[in-house]
Subunit: 362 residues, 2 copies
């Protein structure tokens, strides 16, 4: 154990009290709703935190990339869903190896994509679980609800695949400027998915799992018929989640400790944390600056790679050498930018966690 003040900057701090509370609360919400929790671990990329989530009752974990699944499988995690349309023979070979030791499922939203995996599994005399991706309004990947049945029929015909269910991600919630809009988005998410599931089952197709995702809509989307929820950001929260009204500043478990390195003008200070630590991801639902400074009104106004430029408001001042904490706009991308984070409690560093699944892009 060392005091936080001994850390050099910039450093990413994880407040253990808040983390533990966030993990427990979401687990309790899911339990109360009778929905299985399968948190997206892209937010932290840490086996240590995923273990806490499982201990609190999570059924399994969610990731996006095969390389991330390999990291977590090597750490003993044995139930992994890759919520992403995985495509390609090279990835299929790695999935075959993963499926030997993990209860595995992957996303799919096209026959052409799914076939690249099905062929490899069929050739090996095996079956891969797939989840059909439904687009309930984000308009990124996924088929529209009215297209789901036709695609599901084609997927179940592919040798080497087994249809486990359907999933979605209502990322459009990040654009909701009122709680009413967010609630509506979540209700639509859950109800649309329940309807698609009924349609598939009515046609005699399997649909064991009906899975929704996203932290902002999580509490609203646990509707009748939904069996699984995959929020990610709730473990740490961030400035965007505060802006969305999903949590308060006191729930934010992640912060970036930074040092003031320059005060070239009365209305400007420069921190040693730039986009290489905070990213240039914008504040949601409405872009406004690059991060909040704890206890100050002054905000980060622009970033370059190594500089965070603070617009100093009248009445505040910063001193070269002074340390501040920044609540980032987006927690997940911060995890991906650093080799390790520091787990802190009461002013002390309890552990340095290597971000084991950082940078696994393939």
């Amino acid at each position: 154990m060392q005091p936080i003040s001994d850390l050099d900057t910039p450093a990413v701090l994880i407040d253990l009290d808040r983390l533990e509370r966030n993990v427990a609360r979401m687990a309790e919400k899911a339990r109360a709703a009778g929905v299985a929790l399968r948190p997206h671990c892209k937010t932290h990329k840490l086996p240590e935190v995923a273990r806490m989530q499982l201990n609190a009752g999570a059924r399994g974990i969610t990731l996006a990339k095969v390389g991330e699944a390999e990291v977590f499988a090597a750490q003993g995690f044995d139930d992994i869903f890759l919520a992403y349309p995985i495509v390609g023979a090279q990835k299929a070979r790695r999935l075959l190896a993963l499926a030997d030791r993990v209860r595995l499922a992957v996303g799919a939203d096209s026959v052409a994509g799914a076939r690249t995996l099905a062929d490899a599994f069929a050739a090996a005399g095996r079956q891969l679980d797939v989840m059909l991706k439904i687009d309930v309004g984000l308009h990124r990947a996924g088929v529209l609800p009215e297209q789901a049945l036709a695609l599901a029929r084609q997927l179940v015909d592919l040798k080497g695949l087994r249809l486990r269910g359907i999933f979605t991600h209502a990322g459009q919630g990040y654009g909701c400027e009122t709680t009413e809009a967010l609630a509506g988005t979540g209700h639509h998410e859950g109800d649309s998915m329940a309807a698609v599931a009924r349609e598939l089952r009515g046609a005699g197709l399997p649909c064991d799992v009906v899975s929704v995702g996203s932290t902002p809509t999580a509490l609203f989307a646990m509707r009748p018929g939904v069996t699984e929820s995959r929020p990610g950001t709730y473990v740490y929260y961030d400035a965007s989640e505060v802006s969305l009204g999903v949590c308060t500043m006191d729930d934010c478990a992640i912060s970036v400790l930074a040092t003031v390195v320059s005060t070239p003008a009365a209305d400007r200070a420069v921190l040693d944390a730039g986009s290489k630590t905070l990213s240039n991801d914008i504040l949601r639902p409405k872009a406004s600056g690059n991060g909040w400074i704890v206890g100050r009104e002054s905000r980060l106004q622009r970033l370059s790679e190594e500089h965070g430029v603070v617009g100093v408001v009248p009445g505040e001042s910063f001193t070269v050498g002074e340390r501040v904490r920044i609540i980032p706009n987006h927690a997940c991308v911060v995890s991906n930018l650093v080799d390790s984070v520091y787990a802190v409690r009461g002013g002390q560093v309890e552990a340095e966690w290597r971000v084991a699944a950082r940078g696994r892009i393939v």
Copy 2:
């Protein structure tokens, strides 16, 4: 050697022919102008490329963080300038160790900041070279030209420091929408610095080095009185440099190889490269999309961490499984996002380079 087609995606490719040409050309421009070249290696973070730059005639290298300098020093690089206002006793200790084996200089723009380094060097009976940062219009760090003399006088009075010269970074060039504006910015950069140098020398202060930086202004800022240039991005170039008119698409040595994983609508395709590979850095000088697809009119319209959403223009189409190459908005941040890049020539991968100085934020 393996064909590029054997690489899994996403993958960052470095075109060796273009890289070598870019390195040679900038070296020749600097030589012709009688200006020493000290490239900023944050763009690539690769000892392999820095070695090429030295072999082409570069005098030394530029970096921002102490941790980056440690990586390059361990690889034998012996002349390093940290173009950043380094602050703090912890970093001072590491600089002391570095200065044992490297000809070192660091930036400074305040007495308070410089003193945190000076104290450690004075206590060790040693001297650290500092370069005074001048703000010629970016309004990030640095003192205004009219404040330079007063600060320089204070810096030379600090025991443990030696004033080597002055430096600037005309990053405002990234906002210039015409070549005329860019030329004007570069001329102002070089001339302002030459004037500050004359003032310092006229007052009997040392100012051996007059150093300018930035790829867009590089060719314009090599004015009489400027002794050193520190461009970075020119080794790779990127979509922003093309937009600024500084190079052509055929000069871009960096690209991201990606696979189409979803084609959910006629006007939309999804690539397996998102902000985790490309970053959300905007196109300069005018924000427009998240990267250009080589040989296509369709552009990346938005990114999430693992998804690159292409707005497919009429007349074009994408097929699941198809591979494309993306020219990123900003090369430097891509280098920081990946563990390794692939050096390619004529369809073949000649080497996998580990990005040795990636993620060195401290």
